[in-house]
Amino acid sequence: MLIRNRIEPPSSEITPEIDYLNRRQFLGMVGSIGAISATGALAEAVLGGLHPVGAQQGDEVSDEEKVTSYNNYYEFGTDKEDPKANSQQFQARPWSVKIEGMAKKTGDMPLDDFLKPSRVEDRTYRFRCVEAWSAVIPWRGIPLADVIRRAEPLPSAKYIEMTTLYDPRRMPGQRRATIEWPYIEGLRLDEALNPLAFLATGMYGKTLPNQNGAPMRLVVPWKYGFKNIKAIVKIKFTDRPANSTWMKAAADEYGFYANVNPTVDHPRWSQARERKLGDILRRPTLMFNGYEAQVASMYAGMDLRKNF
């Protein structure tokens, strides 16, 4: 209520457990410097630092049960309830991540060493599936940009390509040729460096559940869900865009950019509205899933109808 003149609605409208904690910290901090009547700008700066989410009305954090029970994760089966049912035996540790391609610091690394240099952050983001359902999820993890910078990409590197674990013994869905294995996704390097891009190792204040992509998955909230590759084992620096799994599966339906865009329909359904998990009625889908201020400049001058 304090915050009136804002460029975007503050994330303080989202009220998960984590935020309660942070809000206390925030109030305590503001109180201690005797600036209870802090200006909107200060509040925005502090809160914005904690949560870079541009929250909308009705953006309450989704029910954890729903987010962990309704998943697209073909590695564990094609039905939405398959990943939860078939991933409980999956051992996400030990795990190692390989950095490859056009970078100075390449090689294999245990996941813990890969994560250690970065400060763990909590970020609550909107999530929008290409199938027009959505959720609001409190993630825990590290900025993707940290990882990219540590690898020291060469000037020739323009893209990154990420790969999911391929192990049909541990991922039963891979025993069937539903999509091409392993799952591959990619980003332009500037997209990967965008402060919103995130590598999640947890959600709802807990370790990332197997069905949500343990031990580590990508979160790029302005893009459709399928870009958010799960169980990452490899990050490769390249000079060309990845031929991603869903592009190979249906190039007319799934593009490389896959930016959330209510004005460009999927061939089989409209993208103008979405249904938040648990809701009956739809709500309007926002351009870049509501992160226009943070990401639109990366696509200036591009025909988003062509580059869907």
């Binding site: 029970s69 073909y74 199938e131 359902w133 539903t178 089989r268 359904w269 998990l277």
Partner: protein
Amino acid sequence: MTSAVATPARARAKGPRVGRALKPVVFVILLAPAAWLVYAVLTDRIEGDVVKILEINTGELALRSLIYTLAITPLRQITGWAWLATWRRMLGLFVFFYATMHMLIYFGLDLELRFGEIWTSIVKRPYITIGMLSWLILVPLAITSPNWVAKKLGGVKWKRLHQLTYVVAITATTHYLWAVKKDTFWPVVYFGLFAVLLGLRAVRWRRGRDVRAAA
């Protein structure tokens, strides 16, 4: 249709009774999923995209009911249980019931009665076009299901009209195939089952024609 199966008088008397006794049971079994879905929605038991889950479930129930409907005649011919035929109309009406639910959920809850979008989906999206066509074919079949309407229509015409069920088996399964994202396992299974059920009829029809030609 005169039954070629010779049934002893006693069995003939017992058969219809079994059929009549079991019919309400079959009715409850087929309606139970609908009741469960309503209950699950009202008590917030559906995890995930509620409307999508309702669509998938009612669509599958319609197709499954169609399998049962088309299985009656071959089953009756194989087993000689003539009383099975007394279930056929009920099963067929379940197809119409679930298909109608499926369509109403799509237009009403998924597209939220936005008529522009409804129209676009029908004319622009082939899987909706063929789904809509499947439902439209079912309408005259449902209308002509009461005895007095069938009688008015006449046996031959009624039979001709209801052979459209075979067309629906193909169009509805095509709708399913085109609607799924990538995993075509179940649509293919349904195609297989319908192929068997229609194939049995084709074989019998050919044999009948040969017999008629020989006579």
